[in-house]
Point group: C2
């Protein structure tokens, strides 16, 4: 796996790069659609490629481990083959879902015991097990097993938790070294900076994480309810420390304007459920603001969903039709809205990249952030 920075913005920390994986090239900055249970909800793999133009997707270790389970994924020859997706996959470590979804959980130095949200069964994740599972899933990028602290989080808890995340990282790296990919391609481990919203902890964590010299680095524990200023402040602080020549992945962020601001701070990779989840509720992101397509005002707007977009759904379906589908609870409404939002995110990343390369990024970013962050 190889990361090249092909251009750095003069007026910000934004960079345009390429990340070469054994499943193909990723052009950064990039957004990774979330395919929780081996599917980006409501989207065919063909649409992911052709309409959304996803270059990499994210899978959730917690969900895939519980259902269909590792026997089946291994039997298929890994998640790529199971879901028939031949481009790169990144898996989270399961840590976040263990805390946010499971019925009950018990954490100690060794690992986390948790209860399935599906059937109440008990399971045990350790750093070693999280690596083994992600190896079996066949992720191109494997995330370290960490504890993601909630917001707000008191200083003592945040500090101890960060220490645990760092010790677990060491165990993750050891387990990576002891094991190999069963499917014959390279799998890279990305460690995760934690530290809640405390500057000294974030600084310490970024320094510890940097010292491991991993292929890429991630920032976790943000977008958990903290004010937007904290998101930007922590991200800026951490990207200043993380090695410049390695890709930086900001986990679970965010709105289109969050993405542009964080690109300006030196982030290369993003994932978030926001575009797909909001789509299912009828919230559409556009260059000119966010539309709640279920509002009455769209009921007789027979213009295309997004006349300026090259995407199939934006050209072929009207706002009034999409509103009707979503108001009626029709699957197709969720499908159309999801493709719209994800293709919008991917196009936004492509344009950010082009703007970084041609030197107009900062000016464009400032205009777009203002323009997109309104309700239509």
């Amino acid at each position: 796996m190889h990361f090249d920075i092909i251009h750095t913005d003069k007026n910000s920390s934004a960079r345009a790069g390429t990340l070469q994986t054994d499943h193909g090239l990723i052009e950064t900055p990039i957004f990774m659609p979330v395919g929780t249970a081996g599917t980006v909800k409501g989207v065919h793999q063909r649409e992911l490629k052709e309409d959304i133009q996803a270059e990499i997707i994210l899978g959730n270790t917690y969900h895939l481990f519980l259902r269909p389970g590792m026997d089946i994924i291994e039997g298929a020859g890994g998640l790529h083959k199971f879901m028939n997706w031949d481009r790169p996959i990144l898996t989270d470590s399961g840590g976040y879902q263990v805390y946010s979804l499971s019925g009950s959980r018990k954490i100690n130095e060794e690992g986390v015991k948790f209860q399935s949200h599906i059937d109440g069964s008990y399971h045990y994740f350790t750093p070693e097990r999280a690596i083994d599972i992600q190896r079996s899933i066949g992720a191109d990028i494997i995330m370290a097993f960490d504890e993601c602290t909630p917001y707000p989080c008191d200083y003592g808890y945040a500090k101890n938790s960060m220490g645990l995340t760092h010790r677990w990282l060491k165990r993750c790296i050891d387990q990576m070294d002891k094991t190999h990919c069963a499917y014959g391609y390279q799998q890279a481990l990305f460690p995760i900076v934690q530290g809640s919203t405390y500057k000294d902890l974030r600084r310490e964590s970024a320094e510890v994480i940097s010292s491991f010299d991993a292929i890429g680095n991630a920032i976790g524990g943000l977008s958990v309810g903290e004010p937007e200023e904290d998101l930007y402040e922590m991200t800026a602080l951490v990207t200043d420390i993380l090695p410049k020549e390695k890709p930086r992945y900001l986990m679970g962020i965010g709105t289109p304007w969050n993405l542009l601001e964080c690109i300006a701070l030196g982030i290369d990779m993003f994932d978030c459920v926001l575009p797909s989840r909001n789509a299912r509720h009828g919230l559409l992101f556009t260059e000119n603001g966010t539309i709640n397509i279920k509002n009455k005002k769209w009921s007789t707007d027979f213009s295309p969903i997004d006349a300026g977009s090259p995407c199939y759904v934006d050209q072929h379906y009207s706002k009034a039709y999409l509103r009707h589908l979503l108001k009626s609870g029709e699957f197709l409404g969720m499908q159309i809205a999801t493709i719209h939002n994800l293709s919008f995110y991917l196009r936004l990343m492509k344009e950010a990249r082009a703007r970084i390369i041609d030197g107009s990024f900062t000016e464009w970013k400032n205009k777009m952030v203002k323009q997109m962050n309104i309700r239509l």
Copy 2:
């Protein structure tokens, strides 16, 4: 609108034909996917054309009238434009849904007062209104407003109801004559034979319906719970009377083997929710029988859904993957299964047509009926 029979089978009443409409040619026998509320559930219009190869779809007057409502459909310039579907559309008259879905209903000579299943509001359908609404929807084929009797149905009720359906037909025809298509293309009215499972009533109804010399004729009131033998007996009896040179549409039928048997009895057009509804429950029709894809036995079957099918979903997704999606309640599972079943139905119709033309229909039909009608 013009119907040509291009070949008639020697050993059965099966025929291969073409139905020319202002929205394109339909090759019969044909199956019409049901697009109740202006969408075939979970299927993009592009997929309807390219994967399913639908030549005509069905819309439901009752649903479209209630939601989005006629103002919006008229504002869009008709259903074709509203949903962006440029091939033919047939609409039912709303009669069946008024009886099967609405909260309460009151029927008399003039029409039917009913209560919306969505918001409990009261509405009134008459034969004239059912025609006006279908004109506004812009259907290429408009169905007469009838009463669909339940099963079982006592003789007296069935006889009276049939009489009402015939009198309403006269009013539908008068209303068709008094009105025109607002969108500039031809709309044809198909009357409906009723008479429950009583031979003399079915015979009488078929004779009355035939006397109107409509462009095409339909058989209603079957597949409402009666034994399969009755379905075939009534269909045979009615097709013997209905004019040979006009297309015959058997409403709401059925399984793949039902379709083949009824093609042998002289039916040209079918619609049914079965392939799409069953798909959402994981029941897949194949040439070799019906698969319940949610069964445990498919959990590690990584072979394509249907290796012998040219359809995208059948080739690109495995049985194990589809099972996982449906067991997990993922939209994509329902989408894949729906495309599978509908494309299977359409291919079956295409093959039936080719077999009628090359003279091998009856032998092939007998083999297929046996082969398909088993549980795998």
